[in-house]
């Protein structure tokens, strides 16, 4: 709350310095704007940046390091016996102190040492807050005054402001990159911990998956089995079914829409396809589980087949339907990228529209289409909600689409739902599975983008 107020004050100061900077620039130019190096607004921004940015940096810096520094001071103020405690217990004591200081716990229950430490803690916090406040306001005013003193006719405010904005843009784009890197590293480290408990070969080549470990060592099934092959095969099976549905339908849709459909049909049906892409996957999930799966089961029974109520087929078909717009819009792009001159060339030789499409347009667009399909495969592999609801949990090693299978994503969900302990292989297995999933989809995306790029070079 305090920080929020501080930021509001800072914002008001920045806005004020914008107007002051503008005024100053106008005053310096003596009303002759063309004489200024930049438009007056740029001088305003220049001053506002000088006011806000250094102060903001201090606030961010403070937020990062305040708690650890305050904790250090509090710990040093504790009696020697407490300070010498091992880390986990020290953390507990500190927690108690912080809770007491924030009045989450009643003061009567606390020991006098803790109460004293809590008071110490509150005092330091208050001092720290005051210091930050004063420092920020001073820096803000100081920056503004400094910037104002530097405004003169030949000052290149525009270049400086644009340079600052460039830095801001670079920071924004690196945020996404570093977040990705952070996710990859965290998954990687947890996966490494998992592989210290379960050998990589057992994980990648084992045929049995039953991650439930017993609490006591003498119970049945105490070890758990972490052979992920049934998961990989299940994922493959569902993805293959999905692609069997999505690729032909999506491709035909794209061919019809880009080559045959009249503009009015295209204008109406494209948004409808986009709606298909906009349906939440959880809705597809219960469509698969409650509509498609019983339907398939009914058909199977009427043919004398035994179909489990959660089948790979149901999940795969619905996932395929979900991916259709993805395949069709990427194929559509690829087909539209084929230059009209090639169509004209084929027509001028007497080719019919169908021959032109089959023999000229599809071959020319093939790299783009393949790239699109690979991107769709990586989506199918990573898709979670439909398979969680419709494919089942039993890790069957089977190629029969009528049986229930489970996928990598489903297992990640089940392993991480509920209470976890982060030292058991059961929980850590999720990270290993995530790692594999990430590696596969990354490889598919890289290959797909490579193919698409190679294809683009041909026509540009």
């Amino acid at each position: 709350m305090q920080i929020f107020a501080l930021l509001c004050i800072l914002a008001v100061m920045a806005i004020a310095s914008f107007y002051l900077g503008r005024q100053r620039a106008l005053a310096v130019s003596g009303g002759n704007i063309p004489a200024l190096n930049s438009l007056p607004g740029y001088y305003g921004y220049y001053m506002a940046f000088w006011c806000a940015l250094p102060a903001l940096c201090i606030v961010v810096f403070w937020l990062f390091f305040e708690s650890s520094i305050v904790t250090k001071i509090v710990v040093s103020g504790l009696p020697d016996a407490a300070a010498a405690l091992p880390k986990p217990q020290l953390d507990l004591v500190l927690n108690e102190i912080v809770n007491l200081a924030q009045k989450n716990t009643a003061a009567e229950q606390a020991s006098p040492e803790i109460a004293a430490a809590a008071q110490h803690y509150s005092r330091i916090k208050t001092i720290s807050g005051m210091t930050l406040f004063v420092l920020t306001i001073t820096l803000g005013i100081g920056g503004a005054v400094f910037a104002r003193s530097r405004i003169h006719v030949h000052q290149r405010a525009r270049n400086k402001v644009e340079g600052t904005i460039l830095v801001f843009l670079i920071v924004c784009s690196t945020i996404a990159i570093f977040t990705t890197l952070g996710i990859v590293l965290s998954v990687l480290f947890e996966a490494i911990r998992f592989f210290q408990m379960v050998p990589v070969t057992d994980f990648l080549l084992g045929l049995e998956w039953s991650p439930q470990t017993a609490i006591r060592p003498d119970q049945v099934g105490s070890s758990g089995a972490f052979g992920a092959v049934p998961l990989f095969s299940g994922t493959m099976l569902v993805s293959v079914i999905a692609m069997t549905v999505a690729v032909p339908v999506g491709l035909m849709t794209a061919i019809y829409l880009s080559e045959y459909a009249s503009p009015s049909v295209r204008a109406r049906s494209k948004p409808l396809l986009e709606i298909l892409a906009g349906i939440p996957t959880v809705v597809y999930g219960f469509f698969a589980a409650l509509t498609v799966a019983p339907l398939i089961r009914g058909w199977g029974e009427s043919l004398g087949l035994s179909v489990s109520s959660e089948s790979a087929l149901a999940a795969g078909i619905v996932m395929g339907i979900m991916i259709i717009p993805f395949v069709s819009s990427l194929s559509d792009d690829a087909i539209n990228a084929v230059p009209q001159s090639l169509r004209d060339g084929a027509y001028a030789l007497g080719a019919t529209q169908s021959e032109t499409i089959k023999k000229v347009i599809i071959p020319a667009a093939l790299p783009g289409i393949v790239g699109g399909i690979l991107l769709a495969v990586s989506r199918a592999i990573g898709e979670t909600m439909i398979v969680v609801m419709a494919a089942g949990l039993a890790a069957n090693l089977t190629a029969n689409p009528l049986e229930s299978v489970t996928t990598v994503t489903v297992q990640i969900v089940t392993l991480l739902v509920g209470d976890q302990e982060f030292d058991s292989p059961k929980t850590l297995a999720a990270f290993a599975l995530g790692m594999v999933l990430f590696a596969v989809t990354l490889a598919l995306n890289v290959i797909a983008l490579y193919i698409v790029r190679k294809y683009r070079e041909r026509y540009e």
């Binding site: 027509y347 001028a348 030789l349 007497g350």
Partner: protein, 298 residues
Amino acid sequence: MSVVFESRFSFTSERRKGERRRQSRASASTAIVPREERQTVGAAAVENPRIRCMDVNVYYGSKQAIKNVSLDIGSHEIVAMIGPSGCGKSTFLRCLNRMNDTIDNCRVTGDIFLDGQNINEQSIDVVPLRAKVGMVFQKPNPFPKSIYENIAFGPRIHGLAQDKTDLDEIVATSLQSAGLWNEVKDQLDQPGTSLSGGQQQRLCIARAIAVNPEVILMDEPCSALDPIATAVIENLMIELCAEYSIVIVTHSMQQAARVSHRTAYFHLGDLIEVGATEHVFMRPMHQLTEDYITGRFG
């Protein structure tokens, strides 16, 4: 006249071009039809035409792009169509093999006879028509396939080859006629797009020849090429007209003068003047033709 006649077979030097320009200026007094007159002057009809167009009109939506054009294309002749940009010469060319069908709101009326058959009737199948009337475009547009497959495409879809030997034969003779054989005979499996611009354009000509056409339409075939490649293509056209009728749209009056037997001058959708190339360039009968070839506009 002799200048133009010579230049059809040898390439006009700068000096000669200047000479011809001066002659056509000097002959300005022969222009008799005033600018406002839009009736076609000159001889639009020939004896035993390969293609006879009668009162052709083309509309894009409500806009009329070609107005009542009648023009004959004779056998074994090269007809050049010239005129300022947007005058409808490419549109007219595309009527001759029904390529305007591929444009959504385009409507063509009038009669176009090819070998006595009206090809502008809706009932006509465009597949054999386009095999008879081949087309070469402004920008070389080889298919992204091998050189061999580029040529074999047409014969395959029309079922012209009995077997592989036949097809090889067609590919070889087409490339020979297009003067490309010696350059590519050892790399027939290379992509057609790997050739140079001039070679690609000759590949497209070979591709059109491969389906055994009677007429070849060329829509500014040299405008994307350098002068040397242009010269090669122009020589090729002169050789090819022994077997085919060629209709060429061009922006270059020098090119029209060098290669064509007859020249048609289009202006804003009207066919203004048509006649033997040397007459049109040296003694234009219409004031608009005179203005255009002397560079007063366009």
